[in-house]
Amino acid sequence: MATYRRGRGLGDRLLLLAVVALAIVWIAPIVWVIGLSFKPNDVLMRSTGGIHLPPFTLKNYVDIIASSQVFAWMLNSFIVAIGQTVLTLVIASLAGYGFARTNFPGRNVLFVLVLAALAVPEQAIIVPLHTMFAAVDLHNTYAALIAPRLAFPFGVLLMTQYFRAIPAEIEEAALLDRASRLKVFWRIVLPLSIPAQATLGIYTFLHAWNEYFWPLVSATKPAMYTLTVGLASMQTNFAQTEGIGFLMAQAVFAGLPVLILYLFFQRHIVSAVAGGGNK
């Protein structure tokens, strides 16, 4: 490609060397943690050297599976992430279509408000939001874990943008035939938006799966913890711990599913994150 001309010799090779060295720095902590997660805790107590040498063990993973809590947290994370993803797709697609393709009194004012909502960070509203959910006694429920994220405007703006790019002629014919707006949306426009749905869906799922601050303050009962909050709750008293192999196995156990998801949907994830910027 244009910025990168091959055959300039030394400069190119030095650049490549630098980037590969950085990549090793990037990947080393993960490889190290995966490797040591298969080593017995008593060996790790003495030294973490000799990562490639036996003895190896699966005990750390067996211990995770034996503590049923981790599975309960994983299930919670899954319910929250799926719920948030499905609802976001439905609500954002409807609103995106409404803003991009239909006309109603007050449309432009409402759209400016949605744009303004983009500037509001989670931290600015988390205290009153918590008070509101406490007032209706909804904390420690899935509804409380799922709902607040649905109000953030990224999905609506993404879908608005996408629907605007679909040629109007596609709908016009159907509308002249007196088909209802909802029918046009459902039969004609929605099927065309599958790529955007995939991007938004994967992004929302990942974001929900990794969310930390809101679940931390809303789910206070261990049974309602998500995986992110639950694992964090087990990380106390670190330096003295005897079970660092167990901790490493936890990191691998919780991190591998998203890394695998990433390998499969890399293109969607990268484009969603780039489009989302900070939300």
Binding site: Y4, V19, W26, G98, Q235
Partner: protein, 310 residues
């Protein structure tokens, strides 16, 4: 199937004229039903708490004592007098100043080096982006293990070159930089991706012209590439400032704010005031200060970017 039947007597030409103004079709209240579910959510769960939060910031309200009326600016005055809060502002700004230049410089470097269609570049891009899909809990777990004195990966590497191991996260000097390193490792993928997208927008003709002039690589970089992506550089810097002001999980989980409060960020202060000490008014006031600082920093950067342009 549910049908929102909108009867219309409009003619084709009338319809087309309407459409030209905005959207397709006539302005009808029933079309608003498409956006109604989201508007209810954004008003109920975003604007309502925003307004409530601003109100709370001027109230004496704690969860245990209940509401004790308005107090004007007292919460803000107490924040100014609070040594710990002033410390968190300092720590947060220091952290932003450490990480934002690192994100811009390293993100740009990686994007420049990996902006090509070679297979190995695709793999390298995947490596640098991959860590951003992990949650803060996993990232901090990995790095607390890496930073473990004596047994961590860092200590192992230092001992290979016969250097003594250091306990970064209990050091007042090194704890915050250690958190900054974790953060850069975690989410370098975002700036890299934004820079790659920016580089893709540069018209190839510019490089062809430079090649005809036999311009050196450095010359091409400084007089074509960098000026062409100036806007992207500003965007990345603004996004990173906004993001890094929100430092929370890494500090809470790696150092808990210590040693001696040297790594406690503003968001952790809000968290502790609001959810541990249950002083809602005080915490809401701190939230407003954070929000204001983020807005000021972002606007200042955009203003600086424009001015240089003009």
């Amino acid at each position: 199937m549910v049908r929102l039947r909108i009867s219309s007597g409009r003619t084709g030409s009338h319809y087309m004229a309407e459409r030209a103004a905005s959207g397709i079709g006539l302005s009808r209240l029933s079309n608003g039903l498409f956006v109604a579910p989201y508007m209810l959510l954004v008003f109920g769960l975003l604007f309502a708490p925003l307004v409530l939060g601003i109100w709370l910031a001027f109230q004496d309200y704690d969860m245990l004592g209940g509401w004790a009326g308005g107090v004007g600016l007292e919460n803000f005055e107490n924040l100014l007098d609070d040594k710990i809060f002033r410390g968190t502002v300092r720590n947060t700004i220091k952290f932003v100043l450490m990480t934002t230049p690192a994100f811009v410089a390293l993100g740009l470097f990686l994007a420049l080096a990996l902006n090509n269609s070679l297979r190995r570049s695709a793999i390298l891009r995947a490596i640098f982006f991959g860590s951003s899909v992990l949650s803060v809990t996993i990232v901090t777990l990995i790095w607390r293990l890496v930073y473990l004195p004596d047994r961590g990966l860092l200590a192992d590497i230092l001992s290979l070159v016969s250097l003594p191991s250091v306990d970064l996260i209990t050091s007042q000097t090194w704890a915050l930089p250690a958190i900054a390193i974790v953060t850069v490792w975690w989410i370098i993928g975002l700036p890299m991706t934004l820079f790659l997208a920016g580089l893709q927008q540069i018209p190839p003709e510019l490089y062809e012209a430079a090649a005809l002039d036999n311009a050196s690589r450095w010359r091409t970089l400084t007089s074509i590439t960098l000026p062409s992506i100036r806007r992207t550089i500003i965007v990345v810097a603004v996004i990173e400032v906004i993001l890094q002001f929100q430092l929370f999980g890494q500090a809470l989980l790696i150092t808990g704010g210590g040693p001696d409060n040297t790594t406690r960020p503003m968001v952790q202060f809000i968290y502790e005031a609001g959810f541990r000490d249950l002083q809602l008014g005080f915490a809401a006031a701190a939230s407003q200060v954070l929000f204001a600082l983020m807005l000021i920093a972002a606007l200042a950067q955009m203003w600086a970017g424009r001015r240089r342009e003009g």
